[in-house]
Amino acid sequence: MELFVDAAGVAAPGLHGWEQAAPVLCGARAWTELAEPPYAPQLLPPNERRRAPPGVRQAFRAAEDAWSRSRLDLAQVAAVFATSDADLAVMDRIAGALCRPVRNVSPTDFHNSVHNAASGYWSIATGCRRPATTVCGYDGTLAMGLLEAAGLALADGMDVLLVAFDVPPPVALQAARPREIAASLALLLSAQHAPGRPRLRLGMTAQPESRLAAPALERLRTANPALRGLPLLAALAGGGGQSIVLPYLDGRGLQVDVHPA
């Protein structure tokens, strides 16, 4: 299973877009906790921008970052959204409403509560009618998403946008699913070779997951399911020639050999 990377994007603490993050990820510059730049999803029409919950906005952040350096026509690109928990703040409001004597669920909350909300907003924003899938694999969500994207690219011959994202849960669910940081990561992938595109080779493995040498980055890696993909981004930032393992299921990993462009 081999596919090519057209562009990458990232949005996480101290990693504000690929241009700024790449030197940090390949060790040329130290990670520092920079103030987060202000952000509003560029591609969303105003109505949807107002309604989009935090997880959806976080997904758009990395997706728009990857897209900004790609020449692919977004309306022709299939999409895989990979999120363990989607927008738990929306679910929290609904679950709270269900506990009150009169159970008034907000219609907007309900349509935002579906796990595939980000894919819906993305399709509206880009006018893309290509297949869009949303997967969940708990802490192995990123690897699961990468394999689903590989399927769309290799079996169905489509260019694919993979977006992994997760945001902190509301206070009421911090005990059930602890997380403090919001993060997202995006890869534009293709079965077609083109100049400047690094090649990925995928396969399941029993090898342990890769860790990052810099303690600050390693902390980020385990702090959000999307950032389990940081070793892959680091290998891409370093120009390839590395093999890394992403956590997948039950201690099994997904090995990704990253070959230079």
């Binding site: 299973m1 309604r51 363990s84 928990d85 989607a86 679910m91 609904i94 679950a95 709270g96 409403a97 269900l98 506990c99 159970r103 008034n104 669920v105 907000s106 219609p107 909350d109 309900f110 349509h111 935002n112 579906v114 796990h115 595939n116 909300a117 894919s119 819906g120 907003y121 399709s123 509206i124 880009t126 006018g127 893309c128 009618r129 290509r130 297949p131 869009a132 899938t133 949303t134 997967v135 969940c136 694999g137 708990y138 969500t141 699961m144 394999l147 689903e148 399927g151 769309l152 290799l154 079996a155 169905d156 009421a172 669910l173 059930a176 699913r177 399941m204 299921l249 039950d250 099994r252």
Partner: protein, 396 residues
């Protein structure tokens, strides 16, 4: 694509456990829907509830206490039917546990478990939800992980959560995984158990019918929600006589989060993509199992899409009058219906449809009849504008 064999399948709905129960219901015209509440809900509506899930006998064993929730109870019940678990065990012996993938579609997983934790918490000082095991219940991946555990499978896996298109899309994901060599066979499934979020959520969108759901009816007024779970084994080479997955097609509406594109453009693209992947002309399809939820807008948009692709002569019906709308499980339930129609030569009617909406032009069936059925198209469309059409065929 090269057709993939379906060597075994099973389905559990409000019509009963196992495929024989659903087949009987289809033949006899007996609906699984009842006017009933669920978990204290005060909504006046019909639901497709599986009462056995509330019996103490349905509880998961102590060793699986972490997984305890209505959805995983439903998974456990469904896996017991039709010798499905035994069939997977035999396949595991032959191919190895590492080479069989698991692809499950769900829109809610064990969300009901979280609702109970919130309720318990709201009644206590502090008001925070009572402790519960998020990973093994509410997290969308919980049911797929539970299936792998129950079936002893260690291959690839994916939970697809794309609202009401979830388990139809699980078939597409499984087919891709087999075609790219990620696994040699796949257990595909769909599950959604009743919960208050979906009942009150659809009610907030004014999409729940007070009357029993009446797809394609002139007076249709919304959906009836049901719960269901089913599974199928997909593999490149099946036993002689096994039906096949001929193709799949997926698309996005790019229109609205919770309303269909009025002309059904996205739905049209999904159906055309399915025909294209199977290299079939529309005339090859004998019967269309509609998404047919019974809301005014959904049925109208789907009708326009069906007529644009097939004309108005191909027999079609929605079977949600039997099972209710089983949301993330709908694709799997209706895959099972499609396979039963092929195996037993039946074209089911649109149950509860009394007067066909004159605005609809597709050949919605008002009588169940016997007829050879060699090829079925099954539609599943979800919030977020996710559409998926599957094509099933008789043994090649």
């Amino acid at each position: 694509m090269k057709p993939l064999a379906i060597s075994q399948f099973t389905v559990t709905t409000a019509c009963g456990g196992g495929k024989a129960a659903l087949l009987d219901a289809l033949r006899n015209g007996t609906s699984g829907l009842r006017r009933s509440g669920f978990d204290g809900s005060a909504l006046d509506c019909w639901i497709g509830k599986i009462d056995a899930l509330e019996s103490p006998a349905a509880a998961l064993p102590a060793a699986e206490a972490a997984w305890e929730c209505r959805a995983n109870r439903l998974v456990a019940a469904a896996l017991r039917e039709d010798g499905f678990s035994d069939a997977v065990a035999a396949l595991r012996e032959r191919l190895g546990a590492e080479r069989i993938g698991v692809f499950v579609g769900t829109s809610a997983a064990g969300l009901h478990r979280a609702e109970l934790a919130y309720r318990q918490g709201a009644a206590a000082p502090g008001g925070v939800p009572a402790p519960f095991d998020y990973e093994h219940t509410q997290n969308m991946n919980s049911c797929a992980a539970f299936v792998r555990r129950r079936l002893g499978l260690h291959g690839c896996a994916a939970t697809v959560s794309a609202a009401c298109a979830s388990s139809a899309k699980a078939f597409a994901a499984a087919a891709r995984a087999i075609r790219m060599g990620l696994c040699d066979a796949a257990v595909v499934g769909g599950v959604d158990a009743l919960c208050l979020t979906t009942l009150y959520g659809f009610n907030a969108l004014q999409l729940i019918s007070v009357d029993i759901c009446r797809p394609a009816d002139a007076r249709r007024n919304g959906i009836s929600i049901g719960e269901a779970c089913g599974f199928a084994i997909l593999l490149p080479q099946g036993p002689p006589g096994a039906p096949v997955l001929l193709g799949y097609g997926e698309s996005g509406d790019a229109h609205h989060m919770s309303a269909p594109e009025p002309d059904g453009r996205g739905a049209r693209e999904a159906m055309r993509a399915a025909l294209h992947s199977a290299a079939l002309a529309p005339a090859a399809v004998d019967y269309i199992n509609l998404h047919g939820t019974g809301t005014a807008a959904n049925d109208l948009a789907e009708d326009r899409a069906v007529c644009a692709v097939f004309g108005s002569a191909t027999a079609c019906s929605s079977t949600k009058g039997w099972t209710g709308h089983t949301l993330g499980a709908a694709g799997m339930v209706e895959a099972a219906v499609s396979l039963l129609c092929i195996e037993h030569g039946i074209v089911p009617r649109s149950l509860n449809t009394r007067e066909r909406d004159p605005q609809l032009h597709a050949a919605v069936q008002l009588q169940t009849r016997s007829a050879p059925v060699a090829c079925v198209l099954s539609n599943s469309f979800g919030f977020g504008g996710n559409n998926c059409s599957l094509l099933f065929g008789a043994a090649q």
